[in-house]
Symmetry: C2
Amino acid sequence: MTSNEATPPGARTEAPITGAAGAARASRPRITSRDVARLAGVSQAAVSLVLGDKWHGRVSPGKAEAVRDAARELGYRPNLAARSLRMGRTRTALLVVPALTTEFFARVYTGAARVAADHGFGVVLYPSPEGIGPARDPFDSAAATLDGVIASSMAADALAPLRDAGLPLVMLDSAPDDHRATATVNLDIADGIRQLTTHLVALGHRRVTHLAADVRSWTFEVRARAVTDALHDVPGAHLRRLPTALHIDAGLRAAHAALTGPGPRPTALLCDDDIIAAGACKAVRRLGLRIPEDVSVTGFDDLALAVAVEPELTTVRLPAEEFGEAGMRALMAVLDGHPAPAPALPVELVTRGSTAPPADAPGNAARPGGR
Amino acid sequence: MTSNEATPPGARTEAPITGAAGAARASRPRITSRDVARLAGVSQAAVSLVLGDKWHGRVSPGKAEAVRDAARELGYRPNLAARSLRMGRTRTALLVVPALTTEFFARVYTGAARVAADHGFGVVLYPSPEGIGPARDPFDSAAATLDGVIASSMAADALAPLRDAGLPLVMLDSAPDDHRATATVNLDIADGIRQLTTHLVALGHRRVTHLAADVRSWTFEVRARAVTDALHDVPGAHLRRLPTALHIDAGLRAAHAALTGPGPRPTALLCDDDIIAAGACKAVRRLGLRIPEDVSVTGFDDLALAVAVEPELTTVRLPAEEFGEAGMRALMAVLDGHPAPAPALPVELVTRGSTAPPADAPGNAARPGGR
DNA sequence: GACCGGACGTGTTACGTATAACTTCCGGCG
DNA sequence: CGCCGGAAGTTATACGTAACACGTCCGGTC
């Protein structure tokens, strides 16, 4: 009778010492829900019910307590692979970012992860390929089946397989009618640009060069359009636009071109991004010009970089964490079947030392032959 | 006989049209290996063998080809949850980084992911809590069972549950005798500091203040020790050390304190990190001093930031990607049962505009009353 | 002709979980 | 008394895959 393999209730032969945080558990004797059941003297099903918090009216409070104790004592952790297989869902979302280098998306992740945790979800990151093999598949990058995807529109290229699989896809800062997305969450980029432009115009700037990121992405197209629109009605305003990559030295080269090109020299460089602005600042200084006396420079994003350079950058602060939160909330809503209407998140102008009235303000006299 | 549910070979009734990249697959009719088997006219086991590349001498080349064709046509993707459950392994490694903001770890990830891919592994990121709930568990952050972990020693706090589970743990830049780690991979930080110090001493600097990151971590302890050792034998050398957090304004405050404190003013600020150095530069300039004429400043890491500030930072370039590669290789070796000996990776001094001979060199006359 | 072994496959099982379906007990009610 | 219905459990099953163990055929060998 004692040799029976089904351990009778009350028998707690198995666990030798353990003591809550037994440090000496070397290799892994995987603990399953059945082990917990044996120790608690119930069936495996009961364990699943109790730990899944679905036991009300199905298991007596006493046994439920016993199950929880047993689980704790054994250090039980449900096997997520088995759970996923059974449930057909993984409670995991994928966040696709254009590149990991960006502080901005780090903050987006933080917000998204917080909301996900509230829903019992995990978040897995997928940095768009850039050095990794070109055809790397977001699917297995996580080595997990996924329930949904949140992706920066900048990284939209890698998303085809995910979309084809019919996964819900929330796009960050994407065109509202983007056919690729199940839902869309936006920042009020246009308003940020508007604030920035208004600020420059109020200081007296008329000759503005827009150093525009040469990335085909909604978020940058909006910037371009908003700059154009905002300067359209300003009398005497003259806008030029130069494309540039999202790197410091690319910004430097573009700014150099802007300042040494034909026609009157611009008094303000409006940059799509703090990184570009940092490069632009270097270019200005290398030409022997001063910021902001000779040239004003503005950034976008308000990264740590914005206060690292001298002078500190006037820029637009994006609520990155709230953005991540909104994205994850939208995904959760989609998964719950609610379609999600989402207003654009407000952004904030931060004025610092890199902008000031231009030397020739406010008369705006055309200074010919700026070289 | 024809009504037998086991589809006779040759029958391909199921798939209607599909045509390789059928775009209209709205919601998900999960395609399993059994579907592939049916279409190819073989058993599910054969599909598993062929797709797992274990079919040589077990399945005829013709049928193998048929299986592959069927899989392609249906767009079959193995269910990773099921595979993990069956195999007890997930082919997934977790990379724990101290914070996502750091460009350095973004590059580490890139290298690690590349090596992992070569071994058929995926990499999942876990940014140490910092805004996320304090007790967030790396285990479920991945929503996947893991085969191994690579972690920055800076983030070692969150690793207890992983270690207790008996997972192989590779520590990055950790003490070689760190009992928490299964293996350790290091950068030759000490040598980097040595090169930096030698450079400063050669320029004539004797009064050096070390702005040391106040993070309890091997990698920073090594820096401190190396600085002390390197200056120990230099006649007339005078070293001070000030702790600072890893933020720009913390660096600024520390540098301010260093430059305005009692005793002769240091001619060089040796910073543990480019970020700190960026802050230090701001402090120097705010005091009306010039870089590098009055004060030399050095960084560490060679981030993008290092060339964004003016003047560009003399710093030490860390081979971040190779570091990630080495870490992942070590993990793979552990998983294969080979113990891994690992030499420290070499680093490289990068001299730029932020260092120069001090004004009072080389006589090194003590200038009293540095305030 | 009996036996062997390799090529080519298939049937079956187990991984650990969640849950539908079933059993048993028991108090209450018509 | 017969029967209903809820509480308290248990049993059984399926999720999709990998791989073990088992067949069958067939050419070759003694």
